[in-house]
């Protein structure tokens, strides 16, 4: 969720009234915003504060003071939804050259004429670009915005992609010219811009926009030229958006235009730019036409659980910046302005109706859906076993599913290649390299962190491990295990062994003293495992299947987990008992 900062004084001036912080918080709540924080503005000598407001991630039209105050004014019925128009001037032209298709194929653009900024509105203009770059533009990977003082450059513009060595210009706020390849090195050291370098760095050609005098406007998505730099005094603005996603490029361009066209000498009038595509086709930007959709009032009522007539529904939608006209008693024609790019479906329109109606004014009803509840049997058996083991005197632990490779391999004298673990591609720490294949490491780490606890320490856990399994749709599966550990001055194998017997009794599995594979359980000690003290461990066999191990841990394992005392353990797969 993006958070924007707006000066309270400016916001209230726009809204035409003042609120207490509490009242404004309530207004935000009703609209689906969150007044996150209120920060002092030191320069204002306590006169003003900055509201930090959290904006829903799909509402690009309220990411700046202009859009936010406009939406709230309309919500409060203090303003009408603005109509955006295109001017009839002779269009500025831009041409896309074929090389761009290899790296960043799309460019769109438009002009804001005769704009008048003040310090606050100019600042808002800059901040909106930042917000869009961070969110919709996915850190400039999808779209990058360049804004220029049109009076310093000469159209027609050319959008090209050239070899880095052939591009040389003075980038924004720099004193000397640099080649594009040098710029990459330079901006890699820039804390703010370094993250954008990788978007184009490894390409053989870099996208670049020139004017007709070969002045570089920008090297998207990294940096603008200093030549066309804007200031608060700029009167005419050329906005270009280069992109890999055409839809998003348009949304970004439209958002910049519709937010700031209110400061033009003819408010909400925008001057188009025609862009000649690689195939010679010319497209005029921006497309500011509304999208029309007919919706059923009855269906809105049905989805939300309210009962409003067509007039009321239209009024509610208008308050949400959706221009709605009543066609008949059940039909509204909703003209969705370009600013509302978040409206994809009828359900979005129905929601806006519900927001304007007030979620908290909706009469609550309990669904009549009648169903019989059921437990998931594996969970039921797990819970019964958890109680049985706790009743036997063991304390339950809750450990992490993720662990390091050594936790399941090296620490037990094994190789990770031989462990059927799923591996994480992008762990942030070494603690989370793989999914655990055993519950034991987690319990041993828990004991290592609690060595001051009175002895003996008797821990257990019933939870899932993850095992690679090529027969599964996903290539792996969960397996539910029971693991128990006894930690004391002596290994106490008899206690762990006794716990196994107790668990088996609880599960009505009888001891099979003949050690045959047809029924019951027995321990098979004809096995080897580097995790255990030689001769002190066995496989747990149930109806002929090996479901786990019981034994005394090898001293190396004890040391590897930072433990000091002997330890015996039990770990079994319990899925066969469901």
């Amino acid at each position: 969720m993006p958070t924007i900062g707006v000066k309270r004084s400016l916001l209230f001036k726009e809204l035409g009234q003042t609120y207490t912080d509490k009242e404004f918080d309530q207004l935000c709540f009703d609209y689906g915003l969150e007044l996150d924080d209120i920060e002092p503005i030191p320069e204002s000598n306590g006169e003003d504060v900055e509201y930090k407001i959290e904006i829903p991630a799909n509402r690009y039209d309220i990411l700046c003071l202009e859009g936010l105050s406009r939406a709230l004014k309309i919500f409060l019925k203090k303003a009408e939804i603005p109509k955006f128009t295109l001017s009839n001037q002779k269009f500025i032209r831009m041409k896309i050259l074929p090389n761009t298709q290899r790296i960043r194929p799309i460019v769109v653009g438009a002009v804001l004429r005769n704009i008048t900024f003040d310090a606050d509105s100019y600042n808002s203009f800059i901040k909106l670009q930042d917000k869009l770059h961070q969110n919709l533009c996915r850190n400039r990977t999808l779209v990058a915005i360049g804004t220029h003082d049109l009076d310093t450059i000469q159209q027609p513009f050319v959008y090209d992609a050239r070899e880095p060595q052939q591009i040389k210009f003075r980038s924004l706020n720099q004193k000397i010219e640099m080649r594009a390849d040098e710029m990459m090195e330079f901006y890699l050291k820039d804390t703010h811009l370094k993250r954008y370098v990788s978007i184009i760095q490894d390409s053989d050609v870099y996208p670049v926009i020139y004017d007709s005098n070969n002045v570089v406007l920008s090297l998207p998505p990294l940096i603008n030229g200093d030549h066309s730099k804007m200031s608060v005094k700029t009167k005419n603005i050329f906005i270009e958006c280069t992109a890999v996603d055409a839809h998003k490029a348009n949304v970004v361009l439209n958002t910049m235009l519709t937010m700031f066209a209110q400061y033009c000498s003819k408010p909400f009038e925008i001057e188009p730019v025609e862009v000649e595509q690689v195939d010679g086709k010319v497209i005029v930007y921006p497309d500011l036409s509304d999208r029309s959709q007919d919706v059923s009032v009855q269906k809105i009522n049905q989805r939300i659980g309210i009962n409003v007539n067509a007039d009321k529904a239209a009024e509610l939608l208008n308050r949400m910046c959706l221009r709605a006209n009543v066609i008949d008693s059940d039909t509204l024609r909703v003209d969705i302005p370009v600013t509302r790019a978040d409206i994809l479906h009828f359900c979005d329109i129905a929601e806006d109706c519900a927001v304007a109606y007030g979620f908290n004014n909706i009469i609550k009803t309990v669904p009549k859906t009648s169903c019989i509840g059921n437990q998931f049997e594996l969970n039921r058996v797990s819970d019964l076993l958890r109680h049985a083991v706790a009743e036997a005197g063991f304390m339950e632990a809750l450990t992490f599913t993720l662990c390091s490779c050594p936790d399941v391999a090296e620490k037990f004298g094994k190789k990770i290649e031989n462990i059927p673990a799923v591996h994480i591609a992008n762990p942030k720490t070494l603690e989370f390299q793989i999914g655990r294949t055993s519950l034991l490491p987690g319990l041993l780490k828990t004991i290592a962190n609690n060595q001051g606890t009175a002895l003996p320490i008797q821990l257990f856990e019933v939870s899932d491990v993850i095992l690679k399994d090529a027969s599964q749709e996903i290539g792996c599966r969960n397996e539910r295990h029971l693991c128990a550990v006894f930690y004391n001055k002596t290994p106490g194998f008899e206690t762990i062994h006794g716990l196994l017997d107790r668990v088996m009794t609880s599960l009505k599995v009888t001891y099979n003293e003949n050690r045959t594979n047809d029924k019951g359980y027995y321990l098979n000690n004809e096995c080897e495992d580097s995790a255990f003290f030689p001769g002190r461990h066995a496989q747990v066999m149930v109806c002929g299947a090996n479901i786990g191990v019981v034994g005394v841990l090898h001293p190396n394992v004890i040391e590897n987990f930072g433990l000091r005392l002997p330890c015996s353990i039990l770990e079994i797969n319990i899925e066969s008992f469901v």
Binding site: R303, A390, N426, N450, G475
Partner: protein
């Protein structure tokens, strides 16, 4: 009021013992009860008990609580010497000598002088005028001069020992001092008085009722030591369940009471298709960043995806379908194939709804789950890379947002929360979406307790669910309410290897108390 110590001073060893500590304790308290004040030195001497034993007994009484006050005092005194003590036991030499003289005919002097210390005794007896010597006979005969004598020396020594006579300068003691039967002494003793918690009933008795006592019936005549009910008992050895999972049990129970069926969530690894794409989450959504989601390198991808369904999902994302204009981007199969650690259990809900949609006729369903989900987040005091998500959903014809609000009131009422309010929110796969806030009476503010919404048609219709079927759903984390419930500030104290085992051991029964049903 039996008092064995009275006899012990002069009685024979075979019958009386040193007073037992408990009976002495009893005697001391009774004495103090009557006299309000007790001098340990005097008491010990009066009752012929070792002074240190008296002091020790009072010390042990003190250790049981605020029963008596002890103030130490010191005084100059006199005490019998060792020889003096022998005289107390055996009588003075002169007295014994006198007794050795037969009353009628007397005794030959050489015979009499064979007695121990006869020289001193004879000299004293003579000077006391008790005896006379008839030197007319050979050997001389010693005869009694008086019929009866009192052993004044012994009496004096006894009085000194019992502190009835303690003035070092008294006339009576001068002679005894000369005879080295009495010495000057310094005594440390205590003046014991009652304190606030004084009672005579603390007297120790038998520690425990034993099987033997029951057999012999001896319990009937025995005194039993008082139990100390001001101390804690001995905790039995016990096992216990984990605090978080005890809360899980409560939530699980609530869903079952409400007729919900538990979903099989035992699949931590999911592919992006079921985790994101099927939920109408666009492929460039921030949640699908490596910054937020754990991707798998092995097994890296899933190739088995339901073909027809996948085509519809692709269409609804890229060009739009089912009344939606879609996100209008180039949807990539490769992106959908990527395996991840599931970021929400809604991936399982999606599979369940898809399964439901494949049945011949739609039947309404109520599902829930509580299980682990994974986020590749930066870790802090309240965030771990894995946590438990609680999720509930209802699929039925024509469910409304009002139904969602209604079921949320029912659900949260069972958690004791009745004051709810709902904030419009954004979520890729629900519309409308609502954040759920509850008024916390303790914190005196509204806190966010969960998220909810109606699943988007773009999610449900590609599955093949009927158009008039709505799905309402809500979710919350298990950890957050648990931390609030237990007042835990750092999640690591609760989950993972750094868990505080003592806290787990002492964690009470978890009972989530529902609010009363409103009328």
């Amino acid at each position: 009021m039996s008092n064995s110590t009275e006899n012990s001073a002069s009685g024979t060893a075979s019958i009386t013992k040193e007073p037992t500590s408990s009976s002495l304790q009893n005697d001391l308290l009774l004495h103090l009860n009557t006299h309000n004040k007790l001098n340990t030195w005097s008491y010990a001497n009066e009752h012929n008990i070792d002074h240190q034993l008296v002091i020790g007994t009072f010390r042990s009484i003190q250790s049981m609580g605020d029963i008596v006050r002890m103030e130490q005092e010191t005084s100059r005194s006199i005490a019998p010497t060792d020889e003096g003590k022998i005289l107390i036991d055996n009588g003075s030499y002169e007295y014994n000598l006198f007794q050795a003289v037969p009353a009628d005919k007397g005794i030959e002097q050489p015979e009499l002088m064979k007695l121990p210390n006869a020289n001193i005794g004879f000299a004293k007896a003579m000077s006391n005028g008790w005896l006379e010597v008839d030197k007319s006979c050979k050997p001389a005969i010693v005869k009694r001069k008086v019929d009866n004598v009192h052993d004044e020396v012994k009496n004096l020594l006894m009085r000194i020992q019992s502190l009835q006579l303690s003035d070092p300068n008294a006339k009576e003691v001068v002679d005894l001092k000369k005879r080295k039967l009495v010495k000057d002494d310094v005594v440390n003793y205590f003046i014991v008085t009652k304190s606030a918690g004084f009672s005579t009933n603390i007297a120790k008795g038998e520690a425990e009722l034993t099987a033997d006592m029951l057999q012999t019936g001896s319990w009937k005549s025995l005194n039993f030591k008082q139990y100390n009910f001001n101390a804690k008992g001995m905790i039995p050895s016990y096992g216990c369940l984990h605090p978080l999972l005890k809360v899980r049990t409560e939530y699980r129970q609530i869903f079952l009471e409400m007729g919900f069926t538990e979903m099989p969530t035992n699949n931590y690894v999911e592919n992006s298709f079921w985790n994101f794409d099927a939920l109408f989450t666009p492929q460039k959504h921030p949640a699908r960043d490596a910054q937020d989601t754990f991707f798998l390198s092995d097994p890296a991808i899933t190739t088995k995806l339901p073909t027809d369904y996948l085509e519809k999902v692709k269409q609804v994302h890229s060009t739009g379908a089912f009344g939606s204009i879609g996100y209008q981007y180039d949807w990539q199969l490769e992106e959908a194939q990527k395996n991840v650690l599931r970021t929400h259990t809604t991936a399982v809900s999606t599979r369940m709804l898809y399964k439901l949609a494949q049945e011949k006729t739609f039947r309404p369903a109520k599902y829930f789950s509580i299980d682990k989900v994974f986020r590749n987040e930066n870790l802090d005091a309240t965030h771990l890379a894995e946590f438990h998500q609680i999720e509930g959903l209802i699929a039925d014809y024509n469910l409304t947002l009002g139904d969602l609000i209604g079921i949320l009131y029912e659900f949260f009422r069972k958690l004791g929360m009745t004051k709810l309010r709902f904030k419009p929110a954004y979520n890729p796969y629900t519309e409308p979406s609502m954040e759920i806030f509850s008024y916390h009476e303790g914190l005196k503010k509204w806190i966010e307790v969960g998220n909810s919404g109606m699943f988007r048609p773009e999610m449900l219709l590609p599955m093949g669910l009927p158009e008039n079927v709505s799905v309402i759903a809500w979710g919350l984390s298990l950890e957050r309410p648990t931390m609030i419930l237990y007042g835990i500030n750092n999640i690591r104290d609760l989950i993972g290897p750094k868990v505080d085992l003592e806290m787990c051991r002492e964690n009470p029964i978890c009972r989530v108390i529902p609010a009363k049903v409103e009328n």
